[in-house]
């Protein structure tokens, strides 16, 4: 990881056979352990040996509106395969509630349109409450699906053996935290009377340390922006608090990984950008079976 990554003595090193034999060198007054980074791939190695590059300033944030991708609703109407997959992912109870949840979840829609949508689906107060509930269950299952994918990804990365030492420990701890998110989200869905989405059994390219490091950085950034994309759509304060308390940990992972792979720790600048469901869905498509 970083700066840190190659940094000497990991106090709790329960683990790394390389660490003991590692040679130290000093740069910027910080002692680095070169052997600890040998397995990390060239990009990582460069990042570590050239600390001036480790924390890069992000490029100026693009303040212009990005051209909107086709709305998820239109896409889902058009694309039956997408729709089925998404329904399966979201584990939504039925088409009606799914429609409400997708509409409400469109990142670009304001809260007023989500309210209008809910109202259109159901006019009585009781049904509206049920619709709000199903909106949140849908969002929780969406998040759960992303966390399943992250967990599976980290399991494969750990199994790859590409990372050892302090980096390996970090990767493992990130994976463990994603797994905790999975359990929490499943519990939250059940508590709200929903059925947790099933694990999509993601598949990931695991080719080299540098490739995996970049993918991890991408995945964590996507996770953080996916949660952020739902912040304005979530109905229940409990769900909102939970989602955002997970989201900031995804952000912590992402920026840490940014230091590993020499990418910006704040790729959006001073304000993180949200990602809506259609953007996220397109991004994770390659990893779905």
């Amino acid at each position: 990881m970083t700066a840190a990554l190659g940094l000497q003595s990991v106090p709790n090193a329960n683990c790394d056979p390389d660490v003991d034999g590692a040679a130290n060198y000093t740069q910027d007054g910080v002692s680095y352990r070169s052997a600890a980074i040998q397995a990390q791939g060239k990009a990582v190695q460069r990042a570590i040996s050239d600390p001036t590059e480790v924390l890069k300033m992000s490029s100026p944030s693009n303040e212009q509106n990005v051209t909107q991708p086709a709305g998820i609703v239109e896409r889902l109407v058009r694309d039956d395969v997408d729709r089925k997959r998404f329904l399966k992912m979201a584990g939504a109870a039925g088409t009606t509630s799914f429609g409400a949840f997708v509409l409400a979840a469109c990142g670009s829609s304001s809260s007023s349109s989500s309210t209008a949508t809910t109202a259109a689906v159901s006019t009585s107060a009781a049904t509206m409450s049920a619709a709000s509930n199903s909106t949140d269950i849908g969002i929780l299952n969406y998040a759960l699906t992303l966390e399943y994918l992250e967990t599976a990804f980290y399991e494969k990365v750990v199994a790859s053996g590409f990372f050892s030492g302090s980096v390996g420990s970090l990767i493992a701890s990130f994976g463990a935290q994603e797994k905790t998110h999975v359990e929490a989200l499943k519990g939250a869905v059940e508590k709200m009377g929903g059925t947790p989405a099933t694990n999509p059994e993601g598949k990931f390219p695991i080719q080299s340390a540098s490739q995996v490091g970049l993918l991890a950085y991408t995945v964590e950034n996507l996770g953080a922006s996916a949660y952020l994309g739902q912040a304005g759509n979530i109905q229940s304060p409990e769900v909102l608090a939970t989602a955002l308390s997970i989201h900031s940990v995804e952000a912590r992972h992402a920026s840490t990984l940014g230091t590993v792979v020499k990418k910006s720790v704040t790729p959006d600048g001073a304000f993180a950008k949200p990602a809506d469901m259609s953007t996220v869905l397109a991004a994770i498509k390659p990893f779905l079976p």
Binding site: M1, T2, A3, A4, L5, L7, V10, D28, P51, T52, V54, L55, M57, S61, E63, N65, Q68, C106, G107, S108, S110, S111, S166, L170, S173, A176, Q177, T180, A184, L185, A188, K191, Y227, L228, A231, G232, P237, E238, L240, A241, T242, L244, S245, I246, H247, S248, V249, A251, R252, H253, S255, V265, T266, F271, A272, K273, P274, A275, D276, T279
Partner: protein, 231 residues
């Protein structure tokens, strides 16, 4: 991305401006009076909530900043602005002090200086005439000494995460929820980077574990008071 957060978009329906007209709160009160902390010793204000899943949350209105910061969302934004003023002033001072930082720490300082000043500008714009005035700060050397700077920066960034998380469910306008969420992301990114620089084994990357924890305004304000940074 479905859209890009920018300053104008946050106030997309004029809610910010409109509500600002109605907001109350004497922005000339001193920070300590606003915080309800003048004079007396500080009351601790509740335990830190465990962040485990839905149980994470305090009751919906819990932990708000004192009314002296303003009503409703405006009170929360002014509370946030005060914390951002503090962070920005801390980093501006550190930048001016020309500290002898490692290249990584120097890069960190550039990023946080940019971001915290941007947060201040954003919140001031959102609040308009109702924006709280910047308090007077005295960092007592905490941003002119490398070691103190590194440790204090870590504390400030993590406090920022906890403080915003503690208010996220108190906000009423969706636009503010989105904006606060967007700022939480950034504070968390800063916090993990400085945590990593301070503790290379990684224990401080996510010090609260898999779920970041909220802090009430009373807890945050008491902690701020304890630093003595705001005179």
């Amino acid at each position: 991305m479905s859209y890009t957060i920018n300053l104008d978009e946050i106030d997309v329906d004029g809610a910010v401006t409109e509500a600002a007209e109605q907001a109350s709160g004497d922005t000339r009160l001193s920070f300590l009076k606003k915080a309800g902390l003048a004079g007396s010793s500080v009351a601790g204000g509740g335990a830190i909530l465990s962040a485990l899943a839905p149980a994470a949350l305090a009751s919906a209105s819990a932990g708000r900043p004192p009314k002296s910061f303003g009503k409703g969302d405006y009170g929360i934004l002014n509370y946030a602005l005060t914390l951002e003023y503090l962070e920005a002033a801390f980093y501006n001072g550190a930048t001016a002090a020309n500290l002898s930082l490692s290249s990584q720490a120097s890069a960190f300082l550039k990023i946080v200086t940019r971001d915290e000043n941007a947060h201040v500008a954003f919140l001031k714009k959102a609040l308009g005439k109702k924006a709280a005035a910047e308090p007077k700060f005295n960092f007592n050397g905490a941003n002119t000494n490398v070691e103190k700077f590194m440790m204090t920066a870590q504390t400030l960034e993590n406090t920022g995460v906890h403080a915003y998380l503690g208010q996220i469910t108190n906000l009423e306008h969706a636009a503010y929820i989105k904006a606060a969420g967007s700022i939480i992301t950034i504070e968390a990114r800063h916090a993990s980077v400085i945590g990593l620089l301070n503790e290379p084994a990684g224990a401080d990357i996510a010090p609260s574990g898999p779920f970041d924890t909220p802090l009430t305004a009373a807890e945050v304000l008491a902690a701020v008071k304890a630093t003595g940074f705001i005179s």
